[in-house]
Amino acid sequence: VIASDPIRAAIDALPPLPEVAVRVVEIVNDPDFSTDHLVAVVRTDPTLTTRVLKLCNSSLFALSREVHTVADAIAYLGSRRLVKLVLATCSMVYFRALDGAAGDSETLWRHSLATGILAQHLGERSEIVAPGTAFTAGILHDIGKVVLAPFADRSPGELAAATAAKAGDFLAGERALTGFDHAVVGGMVADRWQLPVDLRRAIRHHHSAALIMRDNPLTAVVHVADVIADQLGCGARDAFAYGLLPEATALLTLADDDLHRVRLDAIDEIERSEDLLKLE
């Protein structure tokens, strides 16, 4: 087991989520947010603005004309897609930093994007969680794995062996190797980034018992999105390690047909997001 200090040091060493991303998260927490406010916030970060405009003008969106301003981007993409682009761009750097024995940064990034997209659709469907907040929680829900990877994946097969030794309990495998699991570490990262409280809880408790989810529908959204991402083939190394808690779907008042609709609606978007994997 790794002493806790190196893990805490790794959390401290993680670059902070850009201020602009934190403010965008706060804005989209309000379902009736103002697009003018959003434009003003995004424009405060010239580097991010440049990257977002570059993405807007890439083949990813195949726009009929070149976009030169954030306001144009909202006009052509819509504010919701712009928000996703901003948050995906800000989050991507953390997953890109994974390397070495972890060796699955692309898989984890794909899973995180898919979970974000599915969470957004679940938010829309359930009508009790703001879709933008749901996307943010989904894309960041496994951020703890980024911190734990150097400690839990020091050699190929180490984490798999530890999980097997714990009767297939992935979180217990992580704890056996590092003293922490990725959900708890993700919660610590979210605390350090001072994310909104519901986001912190969703990241920390997305694998937790139903009673904890009951206090926070966002946690239930992330839990369900995480499981559906696995079902759609977008699983990370812990794919299929967790069951779908019926309490989560009940809290969101989602029946099987609602989940089918979310799967169908999200498929195209997930496929398109594959292009984001290739972007620098």
Partner: protein, 172 residues
């Protein structure tokens, strides 16, 4: 193990550049020897592989839901989203490519299980029923369990191969 032979298309000279990716909600067929049809990662969804060896024709359907009745408008635009309409579309393509219905053999890949959800099992049962209704024999199954898979079909020698999802779990 459902494999008749394990082939990595990347190791077959001249084949690697002739790979067609079939993602969820899509189907594809080919009668071009050496062509590889490869699915994107498969979880609880299901891939149906069909192959007519003498005709050197094969196809792949990666459906999302079993029944088009769920959204008939969508099924008209994207039949491969659903097993029933997707299978018809795939069979039409295979027959156009020279395959004969009575010679087709099927392989099934996917249908992985999540505790608390019957999604994978329902997909698998629907595929078995649909193939049985058309008297299409299933030669092999790599299904259920808690595994992410990739299905591959090499057109020509009638070889279906299965590989691990890139960066994901190995198939058992």
């Amino acid at each position: 193990m459902w494999l008749r032979r394990t082939v990595d298309p990347d190791c077959v000279p001249g084949v690697a550049e002739r790979v067609e990716l079939v993602t969820i909600g899509q189907c594809a067929a080919s009668a071009e020897p050496g062509m590889v049809l490869r699915s994107s990662a498969v979880g609880s969804g299901l891939v149906v592989l069909l192959h007519d060896t003498p005709a050197c024709a094969g196809g792949m359907l990666y459906f999302a839901l079993p029944h088009a009745s769920f959204d008939e408008e969508l099924a008209k635009k994207s039949p491969a989203r659903f097993l029933d309409t997707g299978l018809v579309a795939l069979l039409e393509r295979l027959i156009a490519a020279g395959a004969r219905l009575e010679r087709l053999r099927a392989h099934l890949v996917g249908g992985a299980d999540v505790a608390g959800s019957s999604f994978g099992a329902v997909n698998l049962a629907a595929a078995e029923d649909a193939l049985a209704a058309r008297e299409l024999p299933v030669e092999s199954r790599h299904v259920r369990g808690s595994v992410i898979r990739v299905a591959q079909l090499l057109i020509g020698p009638g070889v279906a191969s299965l590989g691990p999802a890139p960066g994901g779990q190995d198939a058992p």
